[in-house]
Symmetry: C2
Subunit: 393 residues, 2 copies
């Protein structure tokens, strides 16, 4: 065999996603981009603010020397300091610049966290449904993903998490506001989770880490997102500027450790070393200079909220069942039939592209990403109505 | 233990580098940045061209929609097409856009190649001395680095490479112009290597890949760099724009496969999938739009050549022994004493920062990176002379 067995397997097993994608592309060619309603990807259609553009232009016109050079693997000190100061305002902990590692997006951030903490065979507990990349990120570093259920409303099932912890558990990862459900975990869920983690950390004589993946934190509609740092100390916060600044292609994010995390010196050094040896080296330099100006920039929440209201009201009236999203830009309805892939294919017949729940470890559902224009959303309604009627008549 | 055993070990074993680095920083604080002669890092002091800045500014002022969004994992089609066209001019093979994967620098490029081809236990042959990150990049994906010697003049020792090949060998990696030696491998070396690889590929019934890491290709003083694609088909070219455009912090490079590589469809899909699942997702979007304008931009070779001539002439007159570099911006002299770390420490006493050959798998030497100003180079000469005299008197 030429390529690795694992990669060959991944290519094979992801072939249905590829087929879906190709079918979507085929339809776009036939019917035109405007008449295929693509809700498959979390790729914001909103443009970055004018301020973002002005800052980039201003930096390029300035006379700063060495702006595009290598830098310490953890990032520019000024960038780390700005992020630490921002977090001090937002969270109930006193962050210092060294607590921050600037990363190639949240994807890069999660990989350096796993590289730093996982020995082969170590387990990471993940509540389902979950962002499917977690499987790969954990496997990259020899870890094992252990999925546990959530409650019917997709809130954390603390007992299920507790049952999922073994002597090999190194971490639990949560994502709130959640992709794909749009759920925000409430204070009592976070508190309950923290208590379980404290109990087992004590029992095992070493910390079980809580990895909090929060790229959608600024896209919250109704509730404030509870501050994980207020409840637990063995925390890695991982986030990016992809969604709130609408720049996912630029690959910029960060990891923040709790200022009081145990063994902090090694952990911080491990994160920087992992940034280096995984080939990221450092987060893109120009963007590291841009983001300190935009940390307090609000995300376009109102626009996403209008879309959510529009979409959810219509879907509800057609008979779809779902939890109203509290954050992020996804709806995760029940599939009207058990076979979610078949229903997603029925939607495709209406030129509507979505992702089956199977892709998130949660069959019987499907995901709609509503980071698309209101016009596209409205024009898709006929198709959504027709598709559910096909199976409900 | 909290952090992984491997990371803990890496931190421990890299502590001498850290101590060196800290000692350098300490000296800079005492004597001033200008009076510590830092030749330790390959971080170009040259600024990117005005054209680079104009292109970035122009792009930001334009009205292209979606410039900062997610994109296919392999990169923007226009960028891949431009690179393919550039390679068609430069090399003896007909590249198509799909042969190109745009990456987070050469570091990202090497990691996706290793992720794509390596099964646990697979071996990669590396001629010594070598860029030390190869060890990590190979280990990240379960591979084993198998180092073989080069000749006294650091040219490829084809017999040693041949002896290093086993039934587990998946690839050979070469780096020309070379870091740390500055050697450019000549046509007969490349031809000899290709013949060996063809012989063993046939014998093993599967290709042994040649990974050609060429970030310094445009920084060549005397010879043209032979075109690897003319001699062998199972090739991954990995490179970046870090050195020729002086933008290493921006993390932009690419992988090009030989248009006639076996099992090409799987390999290309594997590279894109690896870009995705290793958390790079895609190479930074803005830079992907910049580089098509700068592919034919010459590197500042004349400036580096002046520095090389200045440095080498002086070192030679002090009694240092070395091969004159033919490319890149490194000199790799013999240490006047066997213990290279001790000699590097003696140079440090003169406020000169270099890296011991041990760091490149080649003790008894040390590396000087001359991507620093002529002024700094000239002012370091006294120290270089004193240091060698200390051991030669």
């Amino acid at each position: 065999m030429a390529i690795s067995r694992k990669i060959r397997l991944y290519i094979k097993s992801s072939s249905w996603i590829r087929r879906m994608f190709e079918e979507g592309e085929r339809r776009k060619k036939i019917y035109g981009e405007e008449d295929v309603f693509d809700f498959s990807l979390g790729n914001p259609d909103i443009e970055p603010s004018d301020r973002f553009k002005e800052i980039v232009t201003g930096l390029m016109k300035g006379d700063t020397i060495g702006m595009h050079r290598y830098m310490p693997n953890a990032g520019l000190w000024e960038t780390r300091r700005s992020i630490a100061q921002f977090l001090c305002c937002e969270r109930r902990a006193e962050f210092k610049p060294e607590d921050i590692t600037v990363t190639v997006g949240a994807g890069g951030g999660l990989n350096i966290v796993f590289k730093t903490i996982l020995d082969p065979g170590d387990e990471v507990v993940i509540p389902k449904p979950y962002f499917v990349e977690y499987d790969f990120y954990i496997d990259n570093h020899g870890g094992i993903a252990r999925k546990v259920k959530t409650k019917v409303d997709f809130s954390l099932d603390i007992d299920a998490i507790s049952d999922g912890i073994t002597s090999n558990t190194k971490a639990v990862i949560i994502n709130s506001p959640n992709n794909p459900t749009g759920r925000i975990y409430k204070e009592d869920e976070i508190k309950g989770l923290s208590e379980v983690l404290m109990y087992y950390s004590k029992k095992l004589g070493r910390p079980i880490y809580l990895i909090s993946d929060e790229p959608y934190r600024k896209i919250s509609y109704e509730e404030s997102v509870p501050d994980i740092f207020a409840y637990y100390k063995e925390v890695f916060l991982v986030t990016s500027f992809s969604k709130d600044l609408s720049i996912p292609g630029e690959r910029i994010g960060y990891v923040a450790v709790h200022p009081d995390i145990q063994d902090k010196a090694h952990i911080i050094e491990g994160l920087a070393l992992s940034n280096r040896i995984l080939g990221y080296v450092n987060a893109p330099a120009l963007m590291q200079r841009v983001i300190p100006y935009l940390l307090h920039e609000p995300a376009p929440v109102e626009r996403y909220k209008r879309r959510r209201d529009l979409f959810c009201t219509a879907l509800s009236s057609f008979g779809y069942e779902f939890i109203w999203p509290e954050g992020a830009f996804y709806i995760f309805p029940k599939s009207p039939i058990e076979d979610d892939k078949r229903f997603v294919s029925a939607l495709q017949d209406e030129n509507i592209l979505t992702v089956p729940g199977s892709g998130f470890g949660c069959p019987g559902h499907f995901r709609i990403a509503y980071c698309t224009s209101e016009k596209i959303i409205e024009r898709s309604f006929d198709g959504f109505e027709k598709a559910i009627k096909r199976f409900r008549s």
